[in-house]
């Protein structure tokens, strides 16, 4: 058995005295798409923030077989973990090209000078970004921004790509496009941890899934099995589930 890319044991996160996540256990195997679904306020974004080192947490975060507690964001980026945050956090007053280049900053700093080649690969995945390469990131449409955020993360050549609600605020057609791209990314070998409210789309492309409710894992399993689970159907898939 290969070691999982990411393994989380008994992770707890607190904001002051309020515990937002309780004893989370989660595993992402190499080359897999794992999705975490759940309602607003369940702690999905908090979970990604804690894994990425943006929030202090208790419990073990094991990345590529190594325990990563008390480690800074920058170090995790260098080790191959990237997060595309819910708010995208683009550099609005800089060009698309500069945004992408900065995605490769950590590798550049460690002497890897192939950012031009990586950018061509990103442009192959997102041809729209190539058309907009000189435009300022702040002038892009919502869908293009999301593409730029994912493209920028890919510039780091991550081993684990974490996506926080990539469908948020996007038109249905664009959401489909983004999910197609995420499914395609899997073929490049990168493991993906996908946090989504759009449960149906997420479960369709994921291998395994977790349902997060009020800070705890309520359900977990293969995504196909989850999609058929009556509790998931009722709560998250709603009417669409019955149509099936």
């Amino acid at each position: 058995m290969t070691t999982p890319i990411l393994e989380i044991n008994e992770l707890c996160v607190s904001y002051g005295k309020v515990e937002a996540l309780h004893h989370i256990n989660l595993k992402v195997e190499a080359g897999q798409i794992v999705t975490v679904i759940g309602p607003n306020g369940a702690g999905k974004t908090t979970l990604l923030g804690a894994i990425m080192g943006l929030l202090p947490s208790k419990g073990d975060i094991v990345f590529q077989g190594e325990v990563q507690n008390d480690i800074e964001v920058e170090h995790l980026v260098a080790m191959g973990m990237t997060l595309v945050p819910e708010k995208r956090e683009l550099f609005g007053e800089m060009s698309v090209e500069d945004n992408l280049l900065l995605g490769a900053f950590q590798r550049y700093r460690h002497g890897e000078r192939d950012e031009g080649k990586t950018m061509d690969q990103v442009f192959a995945t997102f041809p729209r970004l190539k058309e907009r390469r000189t435009q300022l990131a702040g002038t892009l449409s919502g869908g293009e921004r999301q593409m730029l955020a994912v493209g920028r993360a890919l510039m780091a050549k991550p081993k684990l790509l974490m996506l926080d609600e990539p469908s948020l605020g996007l038109a249905p057609l664009i959401v489909r496009e983004i999910f197609h791209i995420i499914a395609d990314l899997k073929k490049t070998g990168v493991a993906i941890l996908l946090v989504e409210q759009n449960a149906r789309a997420a479960l369709q492309i994921a291998d395994t899934g977790y349902v997060l409710e009020t800070g705890s894992v309520a359900l977990e399993g293969e995504s196909r099995a989850l999609a058929d689970d009556p509790r998931v159907v009722e709560t998250y898939l709603g009417l669409g589930g019955k149509k099936k």
């Binding site: 990425m52 943006l54 964001v73 980026v77 683009l90 900053f105």
Partner: protein, 345 residues
């Protein structure tokens, strides 16, 4: 006032304005990247000028010992942290940057007797002593509080400012110094006489501004600093650490400050506390630019320089008052015209 006086004052104003422009750029840079209002910026001006003057007087400048001491302190703190978190790989960098390099600079200064060297070599050595103080001060005073509010960081700045002024008095005494001009050339343009140092100040300022422009526009490190200024969280997620950005920014600020001091030292007598006023005038220019816009800061600095020159002619007793009063209409104008921009999305 006749035309000749006006031209003279204009020349004065533009030369001083060029220096204020450099300082204003440094202040804007430091504020946008680290949110620190860098009051000690002026101290680097005084340290740069007085370190060079000490060389020319055949003395060993006290800043040398300050740099060595700060290096040892930084090395101690960082070693302690590295040992506690078990990441011993960092030790090599610590020893190199905080002990070996400062030691090498000190050795060079003590061995070479800079007073007998050509001016260019003296300038390089003075910069080698003063510039490392920038990142060291960031490490000691600001890095532990990097996440604090702007107000807390401002209070730290006041403390650092007083500490550096006090040390300046200790190192250089209360007497002011002047250094030898970079060139004795004089040019006559009609009724206006321009001396070589004026051209040096203007040329060096312009060159430095172009260099900074290229650094921020072309190099990935420059872009990383801009990215940190635009979106701190986004930058961290790209692996641009706040600490690295802070140290790099303070290095640039120290370099700009020390170089400004070295440029003005032949024109004005620099005292241990001269930097404060010079820095504040740069600050007025930076405020005109709202602490964000580089071109506006440079333009504001020229305005400050001219205003100062002309008010020293008409009302010399009120020269500082007039310059600093400028801040009030500027703030009113800015608060009336600027609209709060919401975060995108």
């Amino acid at each position: 006032m006749d035309l000749q006086i006006a031209l003279l004052l204009g020349q004065d104003g533009i030369v001083n304005g060029a220096i204020y422009a450099l300082l204003a750029l440094a202040l804007v840079l430091v504020f946008t990247v680290t949110r620190v209002i860098f009051i000690p910026q002026g101290e680097f001006v005084a340290y740069g000028a007085l370190t060079l003057a000490a060389f020319q007087a055949g003395k060993t400048p006290g800043t040398l010992w300050l740099m060595l001491g700060a290096g040892v302190l930084v090395a101690l703190i960082d070693t302690f942290k590295a040992v506690r978190s078990g990441s011993l790989v960092r030790l090599k960098r610590i020893v190199l940057w905080d002990l070996v390099l400062p030691g090498a600079v000190a050795g060079l200064v003590l061995w070479l007797e800079p007073g007998r060297l050509p001016l260019a070599a003296q300038v390089v050595l003075a910069l080698a002593i003063v510039v490392p103080l920038g990142p060291m001060i960031y490490r000691l005073a600001y890095q532990p509080l990097a996440g604090a509010s702007v107000l807390v960081l401002l209070i730290v700045s006041v403390a650092v400012h007083w500490a550096l002024v006090g040390l300046g008095l200790l190192f250089f005494g209360a007497e002011g110094s002047r250094t030898t001009p970079f060139s004795d050339a004089q040019f006559n343009l009609g009724m206006l006489t321009i001396n070589g140092q004026t051209l040096w100040v203007l040329g060096a300022s312009a060159a430095l501004i172009v260099a900074l422009y290229l650094f921020f526009g072309r190099s990935l490190y420059g872009k990383a600093l801009r990215a940190t200024a635009i979106n701190r969280v986004g930058a961290r997620l790209m692996g641009i650490s706040t600490t690295m950005a802070g140290k790099l920014t303070f290095t640039l600020a120290a370099m700009i400050g020390a170089l400004s001091g070295i440029l003005v030292a032949p024109i004005t007598t620099v005292y241990y506390d001269t930097g404060f006023l010079v820095g504040l005038k740069g600050f007025v220019a930076a405020i005109i630019a709202g602490l964000v816009s580089y071109p506006l800061a440079a333009a504001g600095a020229i305005l400050v320089g001219l205003l100062e020159a002309f008010s020293s002619f008409w009302a010399s007793a009120f020269k500082e008052v007039i310059v600093f009063t400028l801040i009030i209409p500027v703030l009113i104008w800015r608060s009336l015209t600027s609209h709060h921009v919401e975060e995108e999305e």
